[in-house]
Symmetry: C2
């Protein structure tokens, strides 16, 4: 085998409790993967160790200058006991795009896939079987060099941690209400909006909190230059069914290259839908609402998969979408995509990858 | 005393070596300050402990969602053995502005000042005496709650670490050459550009690296909307002497509220200079260069204090400023400000604060 990782097994495995009512991302498995980087030496010393706190110098660059990226994907247990991953190679490709943008050295694709495979083999029993659950996989890189100076780090840690999860939103697949944000801006062309880097998420917290206080679950971000064009919803990509077409904002440099977004586009086209990736103004959506041609709206992301939008609040007006109910297309996409991810539906796209021991 | 912090002294103090030739921000003193935050309990358990690695869950929010802020200030040793701090109350005020923007609970000003005082009393012997050196103070807050979900953390650590430093740039007070960045964008109105948060610094790394590869020390950032108006230089504010006036970009929401910037404006006005805080286009600076009215340019920041600009590269044109030499006003500001900071010059502004045991 090309990659030999040292494996240290936990002496005190945790009890695997039911995920009913659990909060997303609060439980972790017994082991994690770590890989170190030192300038001159490259990535080295890949190892699987018991899940445990990590120890960093207080001057580590991640704390001060935010040089970090992450990924997110899910592993599912099929009814016949196989473990399926959804498009893991897309995650490592995107992770290296994020790495390049954040001046972090790239990680070999095969090494990533083998690390993920070996970790999941060790943690196979942690892939949950309850309805609507999965094992959320969080690979991430942090800059660890202890220097107070703004420059790329000479040392990093790449880690993979695993969290057994239920639904991301407490609403589940029920429609969420969305506040269209006209004041705060998430990203701008020339910035880091399309990288999965920590700072993009920190930048959205205040708007998110203010929207929550107004009774909305998520924020819809408009472009940072003209504040007219739709970018993302919270930490998801967003789609609108306008008349007979499905429209989603084009990848313009400030929008995340969502893997669920890409999957939804492929699936819709496979079903014969016309999908437009283009600039889409909030005004166009509001006009469609007024004309009765705004049929559905939904967010897409690894955590929630498909999140129907039941209401959009923009400039003083609350617009109900599909009378606040989950739309047929949102439901069909959710069912097909999660069915395919769990091996219960056909996968004509070759997206699922079975875990091999 | 209002704030009683537990003090644990290091059993193995380090040797204090000469700072000649040392790299900024790579050495740390024997102790650090830590304060914890838990939702419902508030900030608690302030303590001074030996400088040591910190231990965090790999799911700590700072690694994934970048919820963190920092500050920077300096302590100086006077020739008669006193320790002077420069405008520390401005730092805690700005820190709480950053905290508010990043949805981090604010920190009591008096607690901050007392923590800083007690830590500096313990570390008094670490304030270096060599020419051009100081003790750099780095307060920072990191989100420590171990949850993979995009929402403000329920737990934080506030820490102060100390680093004895020489010059920030290897050029010292010699002029730096600056690449005016037309492609990458640092910040945008509605974003987090005026917060001292990690993500703003990570966002600048790639542009900085590319500028370095072209032979430039720093990047000059233009506004993210029109890409016309000057914002900052690297991690400094920037000033231009245009004819008889001094011009600096106004605080517009995406520019850092520099304490050195504010000090320079006050000092210049005190000396009778006309200072304009306004929108300033790069075209206006280039025109001034062509007309011979671009007299000087310099950056201002805590780390470098005053950093003269010897060359600006913009749209294919390399513009020498003051024939590439340190300008008279840059030198005067550097001498007066560092003289005042070290207690060698009069302080008509009441900026220096003496450390009381």
């Amino acid at each position: 085998m090309a990659y030999e990782f040292k494996i240290e097994r936990s002496a005190a495995p945790k009890v695997k409790e039911s995920l009913r009512g659990s909060v997303f991302g609060t439980r972790f498995t017994d082991h994690m993967f770590i890989l170190d980087y030192d300038k001159g030496q490259g990535w080295h010393d890949g190892r699987i160790v018991p899940y445990q706190p990590i120890t960093l110098d207080p001057a580590a660059k991640v704390f001060h200058y935010g040089q970090t990226i992450f990924e997110g994907l899910k592993a599912y247990l099929t009814q016949d006991g196989r473990v399926l991953l959804f498009r893991p190679r897309s995650n490592i490709k995107r992770m290296n795009l994020s790495n390049a943008r954040m001046s972090i050295p790239s990680i070999d694709e095969e090494l990533f896939l083998e690390a993920l495979r070996q970790l999941l083999v060790v943690e196979r029993d942690w892939v949950p079987s309850e309805e609507g659950t999965s094992l959320y996989v969080r690979p991430f890189v942090i800059a660890t060099e202890a220097v107070l100076g703004v420059a790329p780090s000479h040392q990093y840690k790449f880690m993979i941690i695993l969290s057994p999860v239920g639904a991301y939103y407490s609403e589940g697949v029920n429609p969420v209400s969305i506040y269209v944000e006209s004041g705060y801006v998430r990203a701008v062309p020339g910035g880091v909006g399309e990288a999965k880097t920590a700072g993009n998420y920190a930048a959205g917290l205040q708007a998110q909190e203010e929207a929550t206080a107004k009774g909305y679950s998520q924020v819809l971000w408009l472009d940072g230059v003209q504040r007219k064009y739709i970018e993302e919803v919270g930490s998801m990509n967003v789609f609108f069914v306008l008349g007979g077409k499905v429209v989603t904002p084009a990848l313009n440099g400030s929008i995340l290259h969502g893997i669920t977004r890409d999957s939804v586009i492929s699936m819709l086209r496979h079903w014969g839908y016309e999908v437009e990736e283009r600039q889409l103004s909030m005004q166009e959506v509001a006009d469609a609402h007024r004309n009765g041609t705004l049929v559905e709206a939904f967010g897409t992301g690894t955590a929630a998969v498909i999140s129907p939008i039941g209401e959009l609040y923009w400039q003083g007006e609350a617009m109900k979408v599909n009378e606040g109910r989950t739309g047929d297309l949102s439901q069909r996409l959710y069912d097909e995509l999660t069915g395919l991810q769990r091996g219960e539906k056909e996968d004509p796209f070759g997206w699922t990858v079975e875990l091999k021991d």
